[in-house]
């Protein structure tokens, strides 16, 4: 086996490792000229059951950059204020410390299934643990569980059953 074959094999293995990322970055969006168009596009899009291996803050930021709309427009499309969006995109913010109603706004806006919200929270916990922002993962897991129940209840209250099924 020569050097090029080795490189190709390594690249294939890395592609297999990053399969979720590759699939996620293949998502395509049309060009939006205002937030109403984005809002309407998202409302009609399919419920997102799976998400990439990103923490909540990074997921939001990368989603915003993929749809390529100004920061304020993205916040408007999600029905939140730019200040809240800024806080959510901050690496210091842990999603389970955010009010469930705000998370429900975002999940409804982006058509995120409760399973996807849970996955993002878990990813945030993984990063929070290794970056020592959540030193006790057991306590954090219990907090996440209560927080997810509150998000679920908020979905039910709003009649967003498609995000729970």
């Amino acid at each position: 086996m020569n050097y090029k074959d080795n490189q190709d094999e390594l690249n294939n293995e890395i592609d297999a490792e990053l399969s979720d990322l590759i699939e996620g970055t293949n998502e395509r969006f049309p060009a939006f000229s205002n937030y109403k168009q984005l809002e309407s596009f998202l409302r009609k899009s399919a419920v997102r059951q799976t998400v990439r291996n990103l923490p909540f803050a990074s997921f939001l930021r990368q989603f915003r950059r993929s749809v390529d709309v100004p920061f304020d427009d993205f916040a408007k499309a999600l029905n939140i204020t730019p200040a809240v969006l800024e806080e959510l995109e901050s690496r210091d913010t842990l999603p389970w410390n955010i009010d469930a109603a705000v998370i429900a706004d975002i999940a409804q806006g982006l058509r995120l299934h409760i399973a996807a919200v849970e996955e993002l929270a878990k990813n945030s916990l993984v990063i929070a643990t290794v970056s020592r922002k959540a030193p006790d993962s057991d306590i954090a897991e219990r907090t996440i569980s209560r927080w997810l129940q509150a998000v679920r209840a908020e979905f039910e209250r709003r009649g967003a059953h498609e995000l729970l099924q």
Partner: protein, 216 residues
């Protein structure tokens, strides 16, 4: 390894290149997991910072976080010790991840929202076709209106919902050609459908659209 030692940035590389690192990491050793993340955060960020191509510091941080989360959740299943030092594998993975981010970031938006909405509805979702037969969409009939070359790209883009990259692989042509064929196919459709239907596409081209047209 105590917390004080873990705060020393020089020790991360030593930890990652230790013979037993991957086994301890897969077994859930907390210090090794922290070392992995800290090494990525301190040593690998700059690999992907390319402002000229649309990747900034915060994207580079996201890339490292995504790779670390993937490793931490899957136990870095593809790595084998025989493949060389772990730090090389980690750096290579972060580079590859950065390439995928760049590909997404540099991807031109081939369709404007108004056209996307109208064409998607008309070609794929519509409950009737041109002859009034109740069918699941008119894609086939409308595609006959565009040239053969553009038809293939449009069919894969609208009908199969494939990304430009996947169409490139399927048709064996460059990304620029795929984008041009989708763009021209849509322009053809817009011209030919004009006046034939109340839902016709009459939007005036904007500056960005004119620029894209010049590029095409």
């Amino acid at each position: 390894m105590n917390q004080k030692q873990l705060q020393n940035t020089d020790c991360y590389e030593d930890i990652l290149d230790r013979e037993d690192f991957i086994d301890c990491f897969r077994a859930g050793n907390e210090d090794d997991q922290i070392a992995l993340f800290e090494y990525g955060r301190t040593n690998l960020l700059k690999i992907n910072i390319k402002p000229s191509r649309g990747l900034f510091h915060e994207d580079a941080e996201d890339i490292v976080e995504e790779v670390c989360t993937t490793f931490l959740k899957n136990g870095c299943r593809s790595y084998e010790k025989s493949k060389g030092p772990f730090t090389h594998y980690f750096a290579r993975t972060v580079t590859v991840a950065g390439r995928y981010y760049l590909r997404q970031r540099s991807r031109l938006k081939v369709v404007y929202y108004e056209d996307f909405e109208k064409l998607k509805d008309r070609l794929v979702n519509s409950g009737e076709n041109l002859s009034g037969e109740p069918e699941g969409g008119d894609l086939g009939k409308y595609l006959d209106l565009v040239s053969e070359k553009n038809r293939a790209a449009l069919a894969l883009w609208f009908g199969e919902g494939l990304s430009v990259d996947l169409i490139v692989e399927k048709l064996g042509i460059s990304q620029a050609v795929v984008r041009r064929r989708i763009f021209r196919g849509i322009e053809d459709l817009k011209k030919k459908l004009k006046g034939s239907d109340p839902r016709e596409l009459q939007r005036q081209p904007r500056r960005t659209e004119q620029r894209n047209r010049r590029r095409a």
